[in-house]
Subunit: 407 residues, 2 copies
């Protein structure tokens, strides 16, 4: 591509904008929450159709979970670029908190809103729109393109690693563009080189076959909610220290270069504080310490608690069951498997062998070397397109199945 | 009443049985969960009608909450008996666990099932059926009768104490028959002389205005669910010791006579274990220690936990809010007011001043002296009617507003 064609490219983008937004509307209308197998299957079919209509040869792979959609097309150069994307979305609950219905694409303040619009359906549509523009402008794709679009990213991408191991040849590429990316609030392009891993578990305790009346059992029956509160408190103390023995054993500290890159990223923390309505950050952290903690430290987060009566007023119930959802964010070189095993051992040691651990999926943390040539190429391209120096983020707090792609 | 009339009494009971069950069916069909103001108002009206149709003069008192129904009728002797009852019921959730619909009176194995059938609508109907029988058999009530039927017992009877203070004359009586009572599984009548008090609170923590993504906030945002787990664990430790300073200050130990009465009550614990499907009792207790703990010790019970995502699969949410419902069962001379104040102070001392306490009602513990003449009279009557020596229970684990009636 030469710069001379950029006005034509802009023109084509404008021309097809209405169609692109309509495509996104249709894609967001499918409620493909990872757990909803039916909606996910429908969404996979639709994604395959879109790829076909953009000139890619597609294949649908059964995984045992939601299908993986693969697409490819030849281009002018012998280089190959792979796009990793996903068509599943997080549950939209609590639905009452949405300004407009979650699965209805709505424009407000010149922005588009829907569950999955930003993560990750918007990126499916925008990558395809970009390719379509290039084809219209130049008559061909600039290089070979491959798409890998899965449907279980929001639940730990359980079938990705084994799929990659079996299909190394199919997925071979000179570089891989990850699901997200974009510009920050100042319009500067941001490149992300790494993600924390995740280990998501449900903890469940059952102390009786049915709930009891607290007047009868309060002094003498085991209470599942109490056992859960104590088990949880043993995982992390109120000074925010994770107390699972061996939890930090495999943690590798960030390099000087990592910290320098991190320091260059504009401070978003004041905006975050306002957006989430929080008084301050944990342990009074600020500056580089806060940045470093937010992406280079592992976590233990309670995502949900559920036990007994939760309605209005009082019900004197002694709960037979209690459940917690917990995610651990992992940094190199922690693995979900080891964390699971250490969690089990920790609970057993403290007498919480009645706490059942259900593994709900996980991915390893992984990073790309900031000095890799593909990082240089994308930075130069970003500068050419946006006219602004791109930011390089060595690591972000979120997770995805980048480990098997990188390694 | 002389024993000679008992066959006639039995005959009348049989004659009106179908009508009595039909009355109970209608009463149970009204879903008068304490919080449901509309259904409770409807139930209060219906209770007033029933009293009228049994020959009592009735009055309905507004309380600011659910109405109190009062009824009275003159009898042959100058003695007066007062019946305390309530028409409200606990929430039937989880409704899925019911074999038959909760508000539909159903007969199974010669027993009647519905929400409120045993607590306390069945007792309203059976007290009235007994009076109606006596009137038919003898042409008059044996003594003056008064009924006090409230609609907030399941939520701590918040308006009873002030009502009693204002209406001492109206409620004056020689004895009061409490809401429940009956025979045990061996057919022996049981008399209950005291109840623990209760202090029911909702604890609520809000750490942000909206939920966050755990990938973004996991290392740096405050998490309401974590703070709740830590605050709860500070109230009671995993050895079941309540850790609120001063909690036990006002506790009075049971007397030798109390323990002797307790020892005579048949052991129901094996049956309980089976019914609730529990492996054993707390701290391995058994025998008199278990009996004593079950009614003469105060408690701190988590009745419910609620935070973040509780559905299937994983959602990586960092909750902005977390709630727990807790009931404290109190023994003489603890009071809900003092416990509330000690709880607040304890949480503040540990830095949990962000934990909001919402008081959801309470009653003081109260007991009748086992040597009171009315206890002797009811024991003799029970023996005459049932032909079996009645059991005297000095205290039970449940709660009710008996304190203002006794004191």
């Amino acid at each position: 591509m030469t710069k001379n064609n950029l006005p034509l490219v802009d023109e084509i983008i404008e021309e097809q904008l209405t169609d692109s937004v309509e495509l996104l509307r249709q894609l967001c209308a499918i409620p493909s929450v990872t757990d909803d197998r039916q909606a996910s299957a429908q969404c996979a079919e639709f994604v395959a159709e879109i790829l076909k209509s953009h000139g890619l040869e597609t294949k649908q792979f059964d995984t045992g979970g939601n299908p993986i959609i693969y697409g490819e097309a030849a281009g002018k150069s012998d280089k190959t670029i792979l796009f990793y994307l996903h068509y599943d979305v997080q549950s939209p609950e609590p639905v009452d908190s949405w300004t407009t219905p979650p699965f209805e694409l709505t424009q407000r303040d010149n922005k588009l809103f829907a569950r999955g619009a930003a993560d990750d359906k918007g990126h499916i549509v925008s990558r395809l729109a970009a390719l379509s523009t290039l084809q219209k402008a130049y008559g061909h794709f600039p290089c070979n393109v491959k798409f890998f679009i899965e449907g279980e990213e929001e639940a730990g991408s359980q079938h990705v690693e084994s799929f990659i191991k079996k299909n190394r040849g199919l997925l071979a590429a000179d570089g891989c563009v990850w699901e997200f990316g974009g510009v920050n609030l100042e319009g500067r392009p941001v490149q992300v080189l790494g993600m924390r891993g995740i280990c998501y578990v449900d903890l469940k305790i059952q102390t009786a076959s049915i709930d009891a009346h607290s007047g009868i059992g309060g002094s003498i029956f085991p209470n599942a909610a109490w056992r859960l509160a104590w088990a949880l408190s043993s995982l992390k103390d109120k000074e925010e220290r994770i107390r699972i023995p061996g939890f930090f054993d495999d943690v590798i500290a960030p390099t000087e270069e990592d910290l320098e890159l991190l320091a260059q990223i504009p401070d978003e923390f004041a905006r975050m504080k306002k957006m989430y309505g929080i008084n301050g950050f944990l342990k009074g952290m600020s500056g580089l310490e806060l940045r470093r903690a937010s992406v280079f430290e592992p976590t233990c987060t309670i995502c949900g608690l559920d036990s007994g009566y939760q309605g209005n007023g009082s019900k004197t119930v002694l709960p037979a069951e209690a459940r917690a959802k917990i995610d651990f964010r992992l940094v190199p070189n922690q693995t979900p498997e080891e964390i699971l095993q250490k969690l089990r051992q920790h609970l057993d040691t403290l007498g919480f062998d009645d706490v059942e651990i259900q593994y709900n999926g996980g991915t390893r943390p992984a990073r790309t070397d900031p000095d890799h040539p593909f990082v240089k190429l994308t930075s130069e391209t970003a500068l050419a397109v946006y006219g602004k120096e791109p930011l390089i983020s060595p690591m972000i707090g979120g997770s995805g199945p980048n480990y098997p792609f990188i390694h």
